[in-house]
């Protein structure tokens, strides 16, 4: 099979996808117009830019960073100080373009710190970014004049002249459209970047640095440039976050923030451009929705992440793209029964696991204060007695048995269908 590169100035699929993306962004507030949903969508939008910029490093250039929050956080701080100056009237600057200021700040710190961090690649790079992250995180408490100490720097986003005399960014819906517009621009720019020579050579540096050097590219310089560009987009997301929340605190530059973006970008999938966007949506579900329901959400997140690393290193995007050949051959529905079995097994296991986790948390944190009986899935459960634990053990055992069966079925069905598709393709 040979592929020829053809000049196609009009790529219909691409037009459909990007205009669809724009339409979804425009239409979302019509479906979810409650205040809570709007704030959540604004947050997801900023995280989307942030995780896409993170994936520029991890997925596209093979650079695992434990300190990416430095660029978004410092961008946010610079943006919030500029916003305060606009508010006081010492500076004339439209709030609409404030993310540009954050982006330039992020790129500036990329130039500064990247000089040190990109000297190394692979594991040493990861450790050095961790060190830089800790350095900036600790500095945030040393310079209260700039970082605002424990309380952070608060601001007022209704500042300066209103855009077109109408848009003040007071109502949340206006902030949503600001985030959406910047999200669309940044996503398009970052996708375009992957098609440039620099984006391509970054892939080469990821896959085989030695060969990249042999064809005449200095890998350190490629890493440095990629880090600066990535810092720019991280800064944009930081500034948008500052406008959205009207406060920037030391948490924005912390190691926790850096770790979070790493977790969700990976879960979304680093191998494909759109993977981090899925990760950002999951971020919204986990951090905002699940965290309000259960205290054990970090346990679920950690477990989910570890299972993804072990069994599904392509992330959710990888799982979706694996189905593409089946969809193209119109044979996806043959897989459905075995997939359904797998989902059922996972649901049973999840039930047992989450019940066990909730009971353990209750036992560790609350049982001493409010007695051994808790309400779990609408039932009264005594965590100090043996019976509920035995029931859970039985459910978990059934779940594992079902999972083993599902795994056999999926593998068998997958091999059969894919084998037939491949055989058909060869003829």
């Amino acid at each position: 099979m040979s592929t020829t590169v053809r000049f196609t100035p009009l790529n219909p699929a691409r037009w459909v996808i990007w205009s669809g993306f724009a339409l979804v962004l425009i239409a979302l507030p019509l479906a979810f117009h409650q205040g809570f949903a709007l704030t959540l969508m604004c947050q997801i939008g900023t995280i989307m830019i942030f995780s896409l910029s993170f994936n520029m490093l991890l997925g596209q250039a093979g650079m695992l960073s434990f300190g990416h929050a430095v660029y978004s956080g410092l961008g946010a701080y610079i943006a919030v100080h500029v916003l305060n100056m606009i508010d006081k009237g010492t500076l004339m600057f439209p709030v609409t373009l404030l993310p540009l200021v954050g982006g330039l700040a992020g790129a500036f710190f990329g130039v500064l710190f990247g000089y040190v961090t990109t000297k190394k690649s692979g594991t040493p790079f990861a450790m050095i970014t961790l060190g830089i992250g800790e350095l900036v995180g600790a500095m945030a408490l040393m310079f209260p004049d700039f970082f605002g100490g424990e309380g952070g720097v608060s601001t007022n986003r209704v500042a300066g002249k209103a855009l077109l005399g109408l848009i003040t960014y007071g109502p949340q819906i206006q902030v949503y459209y600001l985030v959406a517009a910047w999200l669309f621009i940044c996503t398009a720019a970052m996708y375009a970047y992957t098609q440039t020579p620099l984006g391509r050579i970054a892939n080469a540096v990821r896959d085989n640095p030695e060969r990249a050097e042999f064809i005449g590219y200095e890998t350190q310089r490629v890493r440095y440039l990629v880090l600066i560009i990535s810092g720019f987009f991280a800064g944009v997301s930081g500034a948008l976050g500052a406008i959205n929340f009207e406060i920037v605190s030391s948490e924005n530059v912390s190691a926790i923030r850096s770790g979070t973006v790493l977790l969700f970008t990976f879960i979304g999938g680093v191998g494909f451009f759109f993977g981090p966007m899925i990760g950002a949506v999951l971020f919204g579900l986990f951090i905002v929705v699940l965290a309000t329901i259960t205290k054990a959400w970090l346990l679920y997140l950690g477990l989910f992440f570890v299972l993804m690393v072990m069994y599904c290193p392509g992330g959710i995007a990888g799982l979706i793209m694996m189905q593409m050949p089946l969809l193209r051959a119109r044979r996806f529905k043959e897989m459905l029964p075995s997939y359904a079995l797998g989902v059922a097994a996972a649901a049973v296991l999840l039930l047992a696991l989450s019940a066990a986790a909730e009971m353990l948390y209750y036992h560790a944190l609350e049982a001493s204060a409010s007695g051994p009986t808790m309400v779990l899935f609408g039932m009264n459960v005594n965590v100090a007695s043996f019976t509920p634990w035995l029931v859970l053990l039985a459910i978990a055992g059934a779940g594992f048995a079902l999972l083993g069966l599902a795994r056999r079925k999926v593998t068998e069905c997958w091999n059969r269908v894919m084998g037939e598709i491949m055989a058909g393709g060869l003829q």
Binding site: G122, T123, G131, V309, M310, Y361
Partner: protein, 315 residues
């Protein structure tokens, strides 16, 4: 003089504790190329295991049992988790241990709750060892130093004087040849990972009661240990030893020094006032900068000596 000697002793004992942590990390890294992000979490597990076992059988048994238990946990992690992702490369291995750090912290929350536990220094060691001028030096600090030095000696003898040490050293540089000679290299890896974790567990047993045993203790020491490994030179045990002592002593001294550029300038007959440009920088005392000193040190080392103090390779 009194301040100097006491700070030096405290610094050295803290540095030796750092070395106990970084030695396991360095061993694992040089052997398998895996940076164990969860290393400090194993240190925390060691402290909690020791707390639990010392409640049942006393401190001295805990000193033996807890590191072994942590070592077993480490070996299980290697056998059933790390080995699985090994074929995907080093970054997924690092990611796995990163996720593991989250899991271990939540596990500790689950079992022992969110506040610190009352893990005490054993009564036999809870007295001053000697008095220097007017400050007393606790016996437990001396015990920590003794354990660290014994451990250093034991690792040295194990690696240089025994048959298994020979195999480990050979697998480090020539895994294929060692495998061809009939040794089970994956099992050696499992033992090294478990052993490295056991060392971290031992550090937890003796560090947990000297400091505080709480769920945040892994995060507090974790990144410093990575700094030690980079500053010493990735994969160099001697470098890790030197770097741990250096960072331990520097940090201990820095925390106690209340000088800033303002006092320095005053000593030279100049005066710096709040009107001086960049006053926020000049007024910082050394004690205030202490938390970031290791990281500044890391940056400087990377600029001027990228392979670390005693490292042999550029990574």
């Amino acid at each position: 003089m009194e301040f100097f000697l006491i700070s030096l002793l405290n610094g050295v004992s803290y540095g030796l504790l750092l070395f106990m942590l970084s030695s396991g990390l360095t061993l694992i890294f040089s052997m398998m190329g895996v940076l164990n992000f969860a290393h400090a979490s194993f240190y925390m597990l060691g402290a909690y295991f020791a707390y639990q076992t010392s409640l049942a059988v006393g401190f001295w048994w805990a000193l033996l049992i807890a590191p072994l238990a942590v070592g077993v946990v480490g070996a299980v992690v290697e056998r059933f988790m790390l080995r699985r992702v090994h074929k995907f490369g080093h970054v997924p291995e690092l990611l796995l241990t990163f996720g593991l750090a989250y899991l271990i912290e939540e596990f500790v929350h689950l079992i022992w709750g969110r506040s610190s536990v009352d893990y005490k220094v054993p009564a036999a060691l809870d007295h001053p060892l000697f008095t220097l001028y007017s400050t007393t030096f606790p016996a437990y600090r001396g015990f920590m130093m003794l354990v660290a030095l014994l451990m250093l000696l034991a690792i040295y003898l194990l690696l240089k004087r025994t048959r298994i040490g020979l195999v480990i050293q050979a697998s480090l540089t020539h895994p294929d040849t060692v495998e061809a000679l009939g040794h089970n290299v994956p099992r050696v890896f499992m033992l090294v990972f478990g052993g490295g974790c056991a060392l971290a567990g031992l550090a937890g047993v003796i560090g947990g009661n000297a400091f505080v045993t709480e769920p945040g203790m892994a995060a507090a020491v974790g990144s410093i240990v990575f700094v030690v490994a980079v500053v010493g030179g990735m994969g160099s045990l001697a470098g890790a030893f030197l770097a741990s002592l250096l960072i331990g002593v520097i940090q201990t001294f820095a925390v106690a020094l209340d000088y800033s550029f303002v006092t320095l300038a005053a000593g030279m007959g100049m005066s710096i006032t709040p009107q001086t440009p960049l006053y926020v920088l000049w007024k910082l005392t050394i004690a205030q900068v202490a938390p970031i000193l290791p990281y500044l040190f890391l940056v400087l080392i990377l600029i001027f000596r990228p392979r670390g103090l005693l490292g042999t390779r550029e990574g």
